[in-house]
């Protein structure tokens, strides 16, 4: 799954890039998008990763509560999968064993694993390798309730602008609103794994047991944010144009009376995710 995720972008991302290439008006923007399209084709045909930063492996494991794992440690099993995928797939090993001492682990492990217990007897595995050019530009804001939806919008737009050319626009932007400090971050990351083809039924698909029912304002908020971010003119590769983002995906969760946490997870167009249910 690591290999597939890194070699083949999902259809929704491809379509969005193609649509962007058609609608782009800036010459530089057009040429950047044309390069990205060609890049995707070369990656598929020649079986090399779409981007050299094949990411840190983020894995969401939604485990049905009737499932019982036997014969070993499930985290170790996931890491073994990452180890094999990154080695056999000629993917880049981008993980260091300690944030300060910084020695490469040599096999891209460990993965960042998010476990969730859900009803049922199946396991849903989502593998979402995340590049750090864009991860570094992600932000968390602990807003005041009085900041309201306008505060949320400002936070998202500011983050996208600050990310600028560093995070390889056109972006896919995951926004987590509510919960607490860490919950909003996980929601934002998870929002990136949702299909970016605009279809709200898809939203239900990704919403795990821990996410709230989708509020009425979510679709409008996503559309408005996408439009406003594209109006900034940052454009593909940050060199000007109208396609700064391909999609803004919002997820929400109840929060405390005193707070309004907002996490903005910036992802580049190389928004990789593969889902398998076993």
């Amino acid at each position: 799954m690591c290999i597939e995720a890194n070699l083949f972008l999902e259809g929704d991302v491809k379509q969005a890039l193609e649509a962007a290439a058609e609608s782009e008006t800036s010459d530089t923007g057009k040429s950047v998008l044309a390069q990205l399209k060609e890049n995707m084709e070369i990656a598929e045909n020649e079986r090399i990763p779409v981007c050299q930063d094949t990411g840190m492996a983020v894995v969401f494991l939604d485990v049905g509560q009737d499932v019982h794992f036997t014969g070993g440690d499930i985290s170790e099993a996931v890491n073994e999968g990452v180890r094999q995928g990154y080695t056999e797939g000629y993917l880049r090993k981008s993980v260091v064993s300690d944030p300060i001492e910084r020695v490469n682990t040599g096999d891209n492990t460990p993965a960042v694993i998010h476990f969730d217990i859900v009803p049922g007897d199946k396991v849903r595995i989502t593998v979402a390798p995340k590049g750090f050019g864009s991860e570094n530009m992600s932000r968390i804001f602990m807003l005041k309730p009085a900041d309201g939806i306008e505060g949320v919008k400002q936070a998202v737009i500011d983050t996208a602008l600050e990310a600028g050319p560093n995070a390889c626009p056109p972006f896919v932007i995951g926004v987590g609103i509510g919960g607490d400090f860490e919950k909003c971050a996980i929601l934002a990351k998870r929002a990136l794994t949702r299909s970016i083809a605009r279809d709200s039924s898809e939203a239900a698909d990704v919403t795990d047991s821990s996410s709230a029912a989708r509020p009425a304002y979510a679709d409008t908020l996503e559309d408005e944010l996408l439009a406003r971010i594209n109006e900034t003119g940052l454009g593909p590769a940050g060199l000007g144009g109208k396609n700064t983002a391909l999609s803004v995906n919002v997820e929400t969760f109840p929060t405390h009376i005193a707070g309004l946490p907002v996490a903005v997870c910036i992802c580049c167009h190389v928004n990789r995710h593969k889902v398998r249910i076993i």
């Binding site: 060609e38 090399i48 981007c51 993917l91 050319p165 560093n166 590769a237 940050g238 000007g240």
Partner: protein, 187 residues
Amino acid sequence: MKDNKQIKLKLPLSKEGAALLRAGDTVLLTGVVYAARDAAHKRMTELINEAESKGSDPAGGLPFPVQGAAVYYMGPSPAPPGKVIGSAGPTTSGRMDKYTPKLLDMGLTVMIGKGRRSDAVNEAIVRNGCVYLAAVGGAGALLAKCIKSSELIAYEDLGAEAVRRLYVEDFPAIVVTDSRGECLYDR
């Protein structure tokens, strides 16, 4: 951007050549570039500082001659069998800012990466008449096709972050900061 040109550029680039480039020009690079990113920059800077404190030649211990060189901020994915290199697009240049002014003062002429640079780097670009170019981030598979040879020359223990000598042909990039300090991202 009307006046910008597409230019075929041979590396190494002289300071006179660098002075002719303008922010927004697109270039196709042919010649040698050295791939180095965070960890390699840190090591090179440590070597320079050590040499300076001993009074010896600061460039002496470096893995490649910095004078006149082009550096590409890039750590490739491994080369599959039969390929020169794996995916090979630019990484965010800003992380190298802390180490860059020193290298520019030592003669480094061309930098290739993506994203904004610090004021200190921009000042060093103008002071030394250098250029900063961007390649398209996320186009690693496409850019790899322009890399005709790749040789690991130092710091093998750093894995993807080791220093490599690359020979590129018609490698597409755009001038972001020209030798006068004009920056394309500011437009």
